[in-house]
């Protein structure tokens, strides 16, 4: 079984690089905002003893007040995992920095989220729709998208 990283280890690794006000813990997940996302990912990917070298999945949730993008990381070397959530309160034009330059596996999944939720990933190398076609109206997985329209 994969072990969830404890808060102490995460705090210990992050405190030199990221202000403690920039992230918080909810249940077993780390929650942050779009400004600190790339920095946190860089630290967690390279910090000794953590080394989250494998990005398993990226997905998104549409809450009434914000969009949330969820990253699930694993370390194959140390056999532990971490869930990272990024909240984007701007529901009109949501944008979040892309982590594709760090984790190449995020490429298509960020495109999928862009396609179905309409969240822009800034500095993504090729941000185009992946399931639907160019010119499709709207983003079907948003809660305000009409069903059967």
């Amino acid at each position: 079984m994969t072990i969830k990283l404890s808060r102490e280890i995460i705090n210990h690794s992050l405190h030199e690089h990221v202000s403690s006000t920039d992230y918080s813990f909810e249940s077993e997940a780390v929650v942050t905002d779009s400004a600190s996302l790339v920095k946190i990912c860089e630290v967690l990917k390279s910090a000794p003893g953590i080394e989250l070298d494998y990005l398993s999945s990226v997905t998104a949730v549409d809450y009434p007040d914000y969009f949330e993008v969820v990253y699930l990381f694993y370390s194959i070397k140390h056999n532990h995992s971490l869930t990272l959530k990024v909240r984007c309160p701007d529901k009109q034009q949501p944008d979040i920095p892309s982590i594709t330059p760090l984790y190449n596996g995020a490429n298509y999944q960020e495109r999928e989220i862009y396609d179905l939720f309409g969240i822009s990933f800034v500095s993504h190398p090729k941000l185009r729709r992946i399931f639907l076609w160019e010119g499709y109206p709207g983003h079907p997985l948003r809660k305000d998208y009409g069903i059967g329209s």
């Binding site: 399931f131 639907l132 076609w133 079907p140 998208y145 069903i147 059967g148 329209s149």
Partner: protein, 195 residues
């Protein structure tokens, strides 16, 4: 001493002599080769039919299928085509990956609008005559995804469907019944009018 042999039955000998002389005089020419037996052989070995019947027989007994395996009905189709249900009985065991070799497209699965242009292109590349079987609820009407933003509500939006097979998915028996229906349809077609 001279021995003289008396004829014992002179009438019988005379009768025999007459029979032989008659036969000889009536048999101066060889009997002509009888040609009637040839007609009989021809009647036994040559069938007379119509062009329509011959063509339809050829078409319905070697329906080669284009693989259009877009979703889960595929597995019922695979089951139908392998040993247990064995559509080789109908000359259909050859599944083609090239539309140029195919007569029939079985739409085994849900079709999305993103995939639809490719399916239409494959159908357009198939040589005439060609037939379409819409297999399963999604093939008929989009099934449970009929209201979805991304699913084609029935293959008949893009292809002319010949036979509809309901089911989610249809069992192999249902697919065989549909194939049987298509064979009957082909039997009734004519070169002057496809359907």
């Amino acid at each position: 001493m001279e021995v003289r042999i008396e004829p014992c039955y002179p009438e019988i000998d005379a009768h025999e002599s007459r029979v032989i002389e008659d036969l000889k005089s009536s048999s101066t020419q060889p009997i002509a080769e009888p040609s009637g037996w040839l007609d009989e052989e021809i009647n036994r070995n040559i069938l007379v039919t119509t062009v329509d019947k011959l063509l339809n027989w050829g078409r319905k007994t070697s329906l080669w299928t284009e693989t259009s395996f877009t979703a889960c009905c595929t597995f019922e189709f695979i089951s139908t085509s392998s040993s247990r249900f064995d559509i080789a009985r109908f000359g259909m065991e050859v599944l083609r990956s090239s539309p140029r070799h195919s007569d029939l497209i079985v739409t085994a699965g849900t079709l999305t609008w993103k995939m639809a242009p490719q399916i239409k292109r494959v159908y357009d590349q198939m040589a005439e005559p060609k037939w379409v079987i819409a297999m399963g609820a999604c093939g008929i009407s989009g099934g449970i995804f009929a209201d979805s933003y991304s699913v084609v509500p029935g293959y008949n939006r893009i292809l002319p469907v010949d036979v509809y097979i309901p089911g989610c998915p249809p069992r192999p028996e249902a697919l065989l019944a549909g194939i049987e229906k298509l064979r009957k349809k082909i039997e009734q077609s004519s070169i002057s009018n496809k359907s």
